[in-house]
Amino acid sequence: MNRTVSFLLALLMMTLFALPGCSNNPYPPGQTAQKILYRALGDDPRTIDPSVSYTLDEAAIVDLIYPCYFRYHYLKRDPFVLELNLGAEQPKREPYLYTATENGKTVQKRGEMWTFRIKRGIRFQDDPCFPNGKGREVTAADILYSFRRMADPTVPCPVLSFFEDKILGFADYTAHNRERVKQKLGADYQYPVEGLQLDPKDPYTFRILLNQPYPQLRYLMTMHFTTPQAHEAVERYGKELARYAVGCGPFVLSEYKTKSRIVLKRNPNFHGEFYPTEGMPGDAEAGLLKDAGKPLPLVDAIQYNILKEGVTAWNLFLQGYQDGAGVSQNNFQQVMSRAGQLSEEMRRKGVKLHRDVSANIVYFAFNMNDPVVGGYTPEKRKLRQAISLAIDSQPYIDLFNQGMGKPAEWIIPPGLFGYDPSYKNPYRQFNLQKAKQLLAEAGYPNGIDPKTGDRFTLFFDNTAVDAAGRQFVGLVVKQIEALGIHVESRAWRGNVWQDKVDKGQFQFVRYGWYADYPDPENFVFLLYGPNKRPGPNSSGYDNPEYNKRFEQMRSMDDGPERLAIIKKMRDISVEDCPWIYINHDESLFLTQPWLQNVKPHPIAMDSGKYQSVDGAMRARLQAEWNRPNYWPAVALAAFLFLGSIPAAGVVRQRTHRSARRGPGGGR
């Protein structure tokens, strides 16, 4: 019996000795005092291949490894400012005449030639794919190589359509390679493309020839699809580039552990980029110019922790082990006070709140080809206008986005050229009375179809399968049914729904669009007739007046003339009412007190090179916030020990009990 007691005692002692070794710090000792950013990812990126990756989460990694000709100014907004990144000078745009065959006749057409020159002395990161493992110098050929790679049919590049129909000879090149891949030959990157030219005299200069003026090309030269890529790396790693990287940016990929973490480290070959010295009014006061002029990047490493569960990520943030966290429905109560300010708990911790405005639009689309809600007659217009007037954006923002977001009046989001803060869409001011009147004029007084005597029915196709989705649908139904109309909700699985939308088998759907680049063309093209389904024009809206103006404005530079055309397009589309504009998203983001230079950018995702961290402060506060509490463990151990003493007594008693005395332990 003494053995049992001493065993228990030993166990107790072991627990007590092990306790001081316990800590909830998930990082190696001392690491958090270093200049390293800790970010969270909800899941592994699908790919970090710069020619394939397309999501914002991926871009936050990819854009730090693969820089482009241009970048967005980190601090300036409204309008967004492009700066030279790899580029040595602003590209030269010149008219360019080319011959094309139209209806069997050869015609001269006016296109555009862009001449780009990149900086000298930029080097790829060191990697075994290069001779001696030393990164070689980046030349213009490496950028054109990326263009050619986009059209490799084995590389599913999501933005190929931006280039395919505009670069001279590019369609030929893609067709040639499609044919080759069909015959199981690899893509041929040497096949000549008239529109992609190197300068025979200068290895840093390249030209892009377009079949039409296309000012948006400068924005495309900020997207990682146009980063210089080393053919050595592509040839050696191929599809592995989805989880491996060879770039020339401020960071290099140093560790990729699936479902666990991704670590970027400072690229020793990178130099010559500095923190901006000027910003917007208020930036200096907000401390955003403290590091002005310092060489980038400001941290040595960025660790992306893959945290699938929001609860886990949020608790790690509260403990100080994550530098930032989003605000969602789950933690909103804890983060915000009733007055819409940061809560007392957060303020005590020194947590900072950032408002992130997205360049996007959320909307409902009518199917313009539908015999009931589509069409361009005055009655059909009035029907759509009536429904538009019955829908109030504010409840959607309040109930489903915690009051964050801006009601949309038209398609262009704030911050982009053409956005007019004073504009009020006449059919987006909630007015049930006017809506009912328009509905009557459309031929459905009180929502009744006089021909049949039945209630008019609107079919709403959606993907609401969860509780929040059904609540959303409930609100839509309630708002529209106030008109006397009946709304029939049809919920589908995501891909079935997408299929129906692409095939035009719907009446009314909800949709959204995020900017690829901050040019109004990237929004107004959503209503351009020739872009109709399965293109991005989901409603199939096709008004020649609108189309004509779109073709004019898309190749114009920003200015009063372009603005006038955009306004005209607005008036045309608002009157036709193919969409009901709901809102432009906003989201809240929290950062720890030790994280500096945080200013969310709606489009650029390269903030990792500008942000800096006070490691000493982080380590101090982490230690302060996470002092282990030992007494419950000691108390539990003591309780178990004390509790076992009477048990030991029972055992002893039973062992030494005389057989005659009781009925025995057999029951």
Partner: protein, 313 residues
């Protein structure tokens, strides 16, 4: 015995074919290849050309019969190919994920079995006393709590309030213990209620047997009766209820791994279903079937090994 095992393995073949056939048709019934392609292409609006290319590259443009033939032959050669969604070789993913999954699951398994048997023996020893009553009450209480509550509660108590262990994360080597402790404790406690109730019944079944009374009559001490005689015989049903879980230890636990950020295989199948990654789904379903069949064979073998009354013919 060997003949028996071979026969059981041969029985497995039609089962595997059947399961693969079912997976194949269920998947095609739920999603068309075009939908799979769209889901796995990253563009906002993939063009029909891009979708067609994707289908051709992944072999989804071939006739169904040919696809199925390829599907079955590849699976039986254990050639799983690449994931449709990420293009990562599936074996590579399984290889990197099986380690952490096995580490956590096997620790929970071993620590759990030891704890459950000890506690069950203790409860059985004190049967009919306040220890037994309270034990029963606690076990039923533990059984009534949903698994996810253990996880969130454990994270909250041990990670957030007491601050003994990291909430999430994983590192190999010497630092692994730090990340393994919390999921292990939670894994063991969450299974405690059910297992102790079950094992207690197994033990009590034995304790009333004639040989126990004989042993006591001969003056064998209560501990010796319990550990030497009762435990040995009670271990037969315990074994059968646990051995079949062993092969499954490699496949990981969905909830535990996603909450603790453990890079295992637990979420692989669910993620693949959500992203319509048929290549991974068919591989994981096949492996899962294989592992389950192996589990049953192992159970039979262990039964024959520990119980001399059982012969495998």
């Amino acid at each position: 015995m060997l003949r028996y095992i071979v026969r059981r393995l041969l029985y497995a073949i039609p089962i595997l074919i059947g399961v693969s056939l079912l997976t194949f048709f269920l998947f095609y019934m739920s999603a068309s290849p075009e939908q799979i392609a769209r889901r796995n292409l990253s563009a906002k609006n993939p063009t029909p050309k891009q979708i067609h290319e994707w289908l051709a590259q992944h072999g989804y443009d071939k006739p169904l019969s040919e696809q199925f033939r390829k599907h079955i032959t590849e699976l039986f050669q254990l050639k799983f190919g690449n994931s449709d969604a990420t293009n990562q070789p599936i074996w590579e993913r399984i290889r990197t994920g099986a380690g952490p999954s096995f580490m956590i699951a096997s620790l929970i398994f071993v620590a759990g079995q030891i704890t459950y048997i000890c506690v069950a023996l203790g409860v059985a020893y004190f049967r009919g006393t306040y220890v037994d009553y309270w034990g029963t009450f606690l076990c039923v209480l533990l059984m009534s709590i949903v698994y996810i509550v253990y996880i969130i509660g454990g994270q909250y108590l041990l990670g957030k309030v007491l601050k003994y262990f990291p909430l999430a994360g994983f590192r190999g080597g010497a630092e692994a213990w730090k990340f393994v402790m919390l999921p292990m404790v939670i894994g063991v406690i969450s299974g405690l209620g059910g297992a102790v109730r079950l094992y207690r019944t197994f033990i009590l079944d034995e304790i009333n047997q004639d040989y126990v009374r004989t042993a006591r009559a001969k003056g064998v001490s209560e501990q010796a009766v319990l550990f030497r005689h009762v435990l040995k015989n009670a271990s037969i049903p315990i074994l059968t209820s646990t051995v079949q879980a062993i092969p499954g230890l490699f496949l990981g636990s969905l909830l535990l791994e996603s909450f603790f950020g453990i890079p295992g295989l637990g979420s692989l199948l669910v993620d693949a279903i959500n992203s319509q990654d048929f290549a991974v789904v068919r591989a994981m379903v096949f492996l899962g079937t294989l592992v389950t069949i192996l589990g049953y064979i192992l159970t039979d073998i262990s039964y024959a090994l520990v119980d001399p009354r059982v012969r495998l013919e």
